[in-house]
Each structure stands twice: as structure tokens, then as C-alpha cells.
């Protein structure tokens, strides 16, 4: 197993179900994930797409593992920037673990299956902002960053 390219962690005063929704439900990802929504039936083996507000497909792939509301593994490739698409498939793992009665630990790792750095540079710019948005939305009701 190659090592993750990065590992992001945030602690959120909320429930695993709410954190899961903030990362998956279209009404909430519009706020937490730069206006995007995901198209998938949320079953292992199913196609997965991240769709931009203008309808373009930003990224696409497949649900590798799903254990709602604890773990989601996605096979993931950029679709609209040729230099990123050329780097091939990556694997994103999202884990949500309860740490106390009213707080969870949200961990995101992302690694490229092959060689390359541009795709990882691109997603590593986005994840800290998405995680901050999820934390802020669930703890205060407002996301922080709305533009990519």
C-alpha cells in the first residue's frame, strides 16, 4: 500500500450522521463543497460524479467502499483538466469516528495510485477549506468559504 499523500483531520462538535450529510447531501454540499453536488446512488461499485454549479463534471469515479455514516472510499479522477486527468486514478478515504458523546473526528486522506503531483496539489488546496466549512456549518450554521 502506498502511503497517503496527505491526511487531514478536524474535530467537530456534531454527530456522525450530520457530518456525513454535510459531505454528501446536495443541499449541504452546495454550502460546504464550493457549490458542487455529487451524483451517485451511494452503493459500493456504483459510479460517482462531482458536478460543478454550471453542470460540468469536475471529477468522476466509483464508490469503492461505503459504510454510512462512518466510512466512504472513492476512486476518483479529475475530468475537466487534461493535465490532472492524465495523472490517473486517486483514492479518497473519508472516515468519521465518534470521539465523545457530542464530537466526532473527521479524517480525509487522498492518494494517487500512480505517479504525479498536480492532482494532489489541486485537491490539497480544497480539502482544508471543505473541512473548515463542514465544521463551521455544523457548529455555527454558516459555512466559511463559498467560492473555489
Amino acid at each position: 500500500m502506498s502511503k497517503p499523500s496527505f491526511l487531514y483531520v478536524t474535530f467537530i462538535r456534531s454527530s456522525a450522521d450530520k457530518v456525513w450529510s454535510a459531505l454528501t447531501s446536495p443541499e449541504l454540499t452546495v454550502k460546504t463543497w464550493f457549490g458542487t453536488h455529487q451524483e451517485t446512488d451511494w452503493k459500493a461499485g456504483s459510479p460517482w460524479r462531482l458536478v460543478l454549479p454550471d453542470g460540468r463534471v469536475a471529477d468522476a469515479g466509483e464508490i469503492v467502499e461505503i459504510d454510512r455514516p462512518r466510512r466512504l472510499v472513492l476512486k476518483w479522477r479529475n475530468e475537466f483538466k487534461p493535465e490532472l486527468k492524465a495523472e490517473g486514478w486517486s483514492r479518497c478515504t473519508i472516515e468519521i469516528e465518534p470521539v465523545t458523546d457530542n464530537a466526532v473526528k473527521l479524517t480525509v486522506t487522498h492518494q494517487l495510485d500512480g505517479e504525479g503531483t498536480k492532482f494532489i496539489a489541486a485537491v490539497s488546496g480544497g480539502w482544508p477549506r471543505i473541512l473548515s466549512n463542514v465544521k463551521s456549518l455544523l457548529e455555527t450554521g454558516e459555512p466559511v468559504f463559498t467560492e473555489k
Partner: protein, 107 residues
């Protein structure tokens, strides 16, 4: 200790900032790898990593027998947004007010 206090306390030490710089340059290192390039004892590095991990500035993943350390920038983002975001909002408000005043002739 408050989470923000833990972040500032962890950052208020040049050895710990150096460890974060090392991870920024090359993310996902083991304790052994981090010790190789530093003029600090293994014990000191391990202690500093513990403080960084407690502040959530370093996150770890186990790979086989090794524990890999990653720079976790999320708490720094949260500190940034708490104050810098506020300044940006007021600047944008000031610009927008100025634009309105200049374009409509009211002030």
C-alpha cells in the same frame, strides 16, 4: 486547555515549527525519518510530535509497524478564518460602499 490555546502553544516553539516545515516539505514521515535530518534527540522529537499531535497540527496514520506523521493544516485554517476572514469581509464592505457612493453620487 482550549483547542486554540493548544495550537498557539504548539506553534510557540521553533523546534516544533521546524518539524512542521519538514513535514510541509515531505509529508508522511516516520519518527526515524524525521530524526535523521534534525539536530535533536529522538526523545525530544517524539515529545514535540506529541504536543503537535495534541494540538491536531500533526495527524498520524499507521502503516505496518511504522507511524507516519502528516502536517494537518486544518486548525491553522480555522484560526485564519476566525480573524482574517473578518478583515476581508470589512474590506469588501468598504469597497462596495465606495463603489455605491461613487457610482450613484451619494456618499
Amino acid at each position: 486547555m482550549d483547542a486554540t490555546d493548544a495550537v498557539f502553544r504548539a506553534l510557540a516553539d521553533s523546534s516544533r515549527r521546524e518539524l512542521l516545515d519538514r513535514l510541509h516539505a515531505d509529508n508522511g514521515q516516520s519518527l526515524g525519518q524525521l530524526c535523521e535530518r534534525l539536530a535533536m534527540s529522538r526523545q525530544a522529537v517524539s515529545k514535540h510530535l506529541g504536543i503537535l499531535e495534541e494540538a491536531n497540527l500533526v495527524a498520524t496514520v499507521k502503516r505496518g509497524r511504522e507511524k507516519l506523521h502528516y502536517l494537518n493544516p486544518v486548525p491553522i485554517h480555522e484560526i485564519g478564518e476566525r480573524w482574517i476572514g473578518k478583515f476581508e469581509r470589512s474590506r469588501l464592505q468598504a469597497l462596495s460602499d465606495m463603489k455605491k457612493a461613487l457610482e450613484t453620487g451619494e456618499g
